[in-house]
């Protein structure tokens, strides 16, 4: 597995776990009541911050382990990695657009800030996740 593919896997796993934990914590804080009452922004910021830190640490640790087996492959990326990354970004962008439109609609109807922020948040997360899935598939099955 090449350096960039490992990073893609790390991003995928961390974002999936991060989003799951975020949803669980928000629902726990709501305690069966309306989720709009939850003070969501510290939870969201902690989720984003921890996801970034865990991704970096996991990439470094996986890189060290992989480097022991294949020292030449450490930190290397090439044209195929860039092509796959572009394809993954294009696939993920659709979800950002959908989230952006969703935010506009929610603003138009003067929805609670909770829904506006979380629509954008999940748009970013879904964009990264789906783009990551597309990239992993391209690494495994090919990009032509």
């Amino acid at each position: 597995m090449v350096y960039e593919e490992r990073n893609t896997w790390v991003g995928l796993i961390v974002s999936a776990i991060g989003m799951t934990i975020y949803v669980i914590v928000v629902l726990q804080q709501a305690g069966g009541g309306p989720v709009t009452e939850v003070v969501w922004w510290p939870i969201m910021l902690w989720t984003i911050g921890l996801s970034i830190v865990v991704s970096i640490v996991a990439s470094i640790l996986w890189g060290i382990i992989a480097g022991m087996r294949d020292p030449d492959g450490v930190g290397r990326s090439d044209q195929r990695d860039r092509d796959i990354a572009h394809m993954g970004s294009r696939v993920g962008q659709a979800f950002l657009v959908i989230a952006g439109l969703g935010v506009l609609v929610l603003c138009a109807f003067e929805a609670d800030w909770f829904w506006i922020a979380n629509t954008m948040f999940f748009g970013f997360a879904l964009s990264a996740f789906v783009g990551g899935v597309a990239s992993v598939i391209a690494y495994r099955r090919g990009l032509v």
Partner: protein, 74 residues
């Protein structure tokens, strides 16, 4: 299902007859070994620049390394 590329190549044949390993070829053209494997297995179409670099390693023309079916139009 990924649509297979119509571009075929003889990299494996040329590489084996030249006694070049995938790792050596990868190093000479500045890509990872996994990229060489993907190109050989026709799971990745290299850029034109990379295609020229591969051909140059084997001292061959582009047509000797990569083939595209006759009469194919987009």
């Amino acid at each position: 299902m990924v649509k297979p590329t119509k571009v075929t190549n003889r990299i494996r044949v040329l590489r084996e007859s030249a006694g070049v390993t995938q790792a050596e070829l990868a190093k000479r053209i500045g890509v990872t070994r996994q990229t060489v494997i993907a190109i050989e297995q026709e799971r990745y179409s290299p850029t034109l620049e990379l295609a020229f670099q591969i051909a140059r390693v084997f001292d061959a023309g582009l047509d000797d390394v990569f083939q595209y079916p006759e009469g194919e139009t987009p």
